[in-house]
């Protein structure tokens, strides 16, 4: 067990804190490493809850408000947990012209969530993103690491079924 100062409820959480500290160590005392550390922290924890922000702030020597400022400024950092599978529907110009709206509508009908929401069973979270650079495949979306292109609304349920 590490003496982390907080009241760790489980060993799992204590381990998480230990791993987080190792990430922070690379930039300890260097405010310029903030974004890089947050990237890795989010990868580890899944999102950036308050306890992560506090620890990062102390480790890098910046104020908590500065960390919170950065977390909320950049779209990639999240204050709430995401679903197991992250659906990012591309809303770049090419996709928009070719039917982003209809893709979002089809997903919404199937899962009952709007962009920015997570399904109740934590299976999916849905968001629209700015151009994934697969304009040749418009309209496109990313689920996890897979790109699905040239989408038609009737394909949506079948594609979603692949992700449990």
């Amino acid at each position: 067990m590490v003496a982390c100062g907080c009241k760790c409820e489980t060993t799992e959480q204590a381990q998480l804190i230990e791993q987080l500290d190792r990430i922070i160590d690379e930039y300890r005392g260097q405010p310029r490493g903030l974004i890089q550390v947050l990237h890795k922290a989010q990868e580890l924890v899944g999102y950036c809850p308050k306890w992560v922000q506090v620890r990062v702030a102390e480790g890098l020597g910046v104020s908590l408000q500065e960390v919170y400022g950065v977390v909320t400024f950049y779209a990639l950092f999240s204050l709430i947990p995401k679903g197991r599978h992250k659906i990012s529907v591309c809303a770049g110009t090419a996709c928009y012209v070719k039917g982003t709206k209809m893709v979002v509508k089809a997903i919404r009908q199937h899962l009952g969530i709007k962009p920015g929401q997570t399904t109740e069973d934590s299976r999916f979270s849905l968001e629209t993103v700015r151009c994934i650079g697969a304009c040749g495949l418009a309209p496109a979306m990313i689920i996890g690491k897979d790109v699905h292109g040239r989408l038609e609304p009737e394909q949506i349920p079948e594609i979603l079924e692949q992700y449990q």
């Binding site: 405010p31 310029r32 490493g33 903030l34 974004i35 890089q36 947050l38 990237h39 500065e66 400022g69 950065v70 400024f73 950049y74 779209a75 990639l76 950092f77 809303a91 770049g92 110009t93 090419a94 928009y96 012209v97 070719k98 993103v129 700015r130 151009c131 994934i132 650079g133 697969a134 304009c135 040749g136 495949l137 418009a138 496109a140 690491k145 790109v147 699905h148 292109g149």
Partner: protein, 568 residues
């Protein structure tokens, strides 16, 4: 790498092995099969094709005679997955993993190309076997994308075989720093990020600025929706960026460079990381490069999803680990950039132009393009056009040539309406200006901008009010909020546009938009805000009748907008 002679020797050896890709059969290889590994083809499972080809070749005992290579983006994304077979340059499109057996059996074992996978021009049944005879490739001029059809982006040796790091060697061993700057200046290279500031002048200002250390920064935060040029260069030819930045480091007296890449491009990050590691092993980065005592190294910084970070001062703030908010200029980065020190910041495509300029000279580069816009420009052609993909043309090529000759025109016989360049900072070019030459000044006069290279084609089914709304919605979302013209002004403009699109527009709304836009343009803090009104201004300029139809007739010609009753 300790000397230019050593590099020359390695290049000669590699050239001998790889000359099959120039059409000369050589050595142990009968064929090199180049499978496109661009983002589009990867999404269409081109990796499975590579696996299938290798398995078929092994089964036939041909793996020592045929080499299979995954390249960067070849360009014709819509035809993907595509591949080219050297030495003869046979081009296959829409290949599936199950085609691997046929390709190996008929072509690679027996020398007969597979007819059904060959390209056919729209409306023709006659196949065109060689890629160099296809209009899409024939009408392009590749400088930035010079290596895309020829190299494995993961192999530094492939890059060296095509003159890679030769320009760095030449600059370091045969040129003084000021000569390097003079060459870039004389070439007339202008920044490819969109604004078109002369790169050589940026370098000169930074070289002359007081303060140390100095920094070299690559802007790889390609945020414009509909643009994927920089991504393709980073994924397909990462060493060209490293070489360009290192040459600049020598010219301005910097020892450290940063590449700021957006997190949405994991493959680009992975390839660039691998390339940097290899360049270090070969001594193109690190200490005492080419035995000249010059030291330089590059670090990657990953963005976190903020469009405004493509603006140079915001990007530098983000590298420093803070909220990516822009700062007023002057001072310009050349005097007070990263960590307050003199900094050259150029975008990916600009960096990829540097090595050829140093190697072939400024006259060569200046001979391409128009009087005030030299060289080539890469465009990501997308939207309602047949051949979507990545194209590179000399400056001054007309929009018509790009959309109809290279792009193959509009699908389903629909009518062309406009192309949009420059993303949320740009504007539209309508049908009556199809013959405008694409260069910085001509596009500027039309109220569009060159921008970073996104070119979205729109047909009669696109509503221009809706497009203006789309871009403004984007800007409202991405505005950092530091200055009020951008934060409040774009929001008010969006509300007005939404009202028009809902069928609740009022008499005078167009004038209100024009006034608001002109104020934002003049008073916003950074490039994002100053250019944000462009999509609105340009659509009003060319498609004012569509706005009027929405307001007066409650009619959307393209049937895109859904009209709602006014809320009381």
């Amino acid at each position: 790498m300790k000397s230019l002679a050593q590099l020359e020797q390695l290049k000669k050896e590699m050239r001998e092995v790889l000359k099959i890709r120039d059409g000369v059969a050589s050595g142990p290889w009968n064929y090199h099969v180049m499978v496109c590994g661009g983002a589009g083809c990867i999404s269409s499972n081109c990796r499975d094709i590579v696996t299938a080809l290798k398995a078929e070749l092994a089964a036939k005992g041909l793996e020592k005679e045929v080499k299979v290579v995954l390249t960067g983006c070849m360009g014709p994304c819509d035809m993907g997955p595509v591949m080219i077979v050297y030495p003869e340059g046979t081009f296959y499109r829409r290949v599936k993993p199950k085609d691997a057996a046929t390709i190996v059996e008929e072509h690679l074992a027996n020398g007969t190309p597979v007819r059904r996978l060959l390209y056919r021009a729209p409306g023709s049944t006659e196949p065109i076997p060689k890629y160099s005879d296809i209009d899409f490739f024939k009408k392009q001029h590749k400088v930035v994308l010079r290596n895309m059809l020829y190299i494995d982006p993961l192999l530094i040796e492939d890059y060296i075989s095509r003159d890679g790091y030769g320009a760095l060697g030449k600059a370091l061993t045969q040129m003084k720093p000021e000569e390097v700057i003079a060459t870039v200046k004389a070439a007339g290279l202008r920044g490819r990020g969109g604004a078109g500031f002369p790169s050589g002048m940026k370098w000169e200002f930074t070289a002359k600025a007081t303060g140390s250390p100095k920094y070299v920064v690559c802007n790889a935060d390609e945020g414009d929706p509909g643009a994927f040029m920089d991504r393709s260069v980073l994924e397909g030819d990462p060493h060209s960026i490293i070489e360009g930045m290192t040459i600049c480091g020598y010219a301005i007296g910097a020892e450290r460079g940063y590449v700021y890449i957006r997190a949405e491009y994991p493959l680009a990050i992975e390839r660039l990381e691998a390339a940097i590691a290899r360049a270090r092993e070969f001594g193109f980065l690190g200490q005492d490069i080419f035995g000249t005592g010059f030291n330089f190294d590059i670090e990657i910084r990953i963005g976190a999803g903020a469009f405004v970070c493509g603006e140079e001062t915001a990007l530098l703030t983000s590298i420093e680990g803070r909220r990516g908010e822009p700062r007023p200029r002057p001072p310009f980065p050349a005097n007070a950039g990263l960590f307050g020190k003199p900094t050259v910041i150029n975008n990916v495509e600009t960096w990829a132009n540097i090595a050829p300029i140093i190697l072939n000279g400024s006259e060569w580069f200046a001979s391409i393009g128009t009087e005030k816009s030299k060289g080539t420009k890469v465009f990501a052609l997308a939207g309602r056009v047949n051949n979507t993909g990545l194209v590179e043309v000399p400056m001054g090529t007309t929009v018509r040539e790009i959309v109809f000759d290279i792009g193959g025109g509009i699908p389903r016989k629909k009518a062309f309406k406009a192309v949009q360049t420059g993303g949320p900072s740009g504007g539209c070019i309508p049908a009556e200006h199809l013959d405008v030459p694409v260069d910085y000044d001509s596009l500027g006069q039309l109220g569009a901008i060159m921008g970073s290279g996104g070119m979205i084609v729109m047909d009669e089914d696109t509503c221009m009010v809706d497009i203006a709304k789309f871009f403004l919605d984007f800007v409202v979302d991405e505005s950092c909020g530091k200055c009020s013209p951008c934060r409040i002004g774009t929001k008010r403009a969006l509300e007005t546009l939404e009202r028009i699109a809902n069928g609740n527009g009022k008499e005078g709304d167009i004038e209100l938009l024009l006034e608001l836009c002109s104020t934002i343009k003049q008073t916003a803090l950074c490039g994002l805000g100053q250019t944000a009104p462009n999509p609105v201004l340009s659509t009003i300029r060319y498609f004012r009748h569509e706005y009027e139809d929405h307001i007066k007739e409650h009619k959307c010609q393209a049937s895109v907008c859904e009209f709602k009753a006014a809320e009381e």
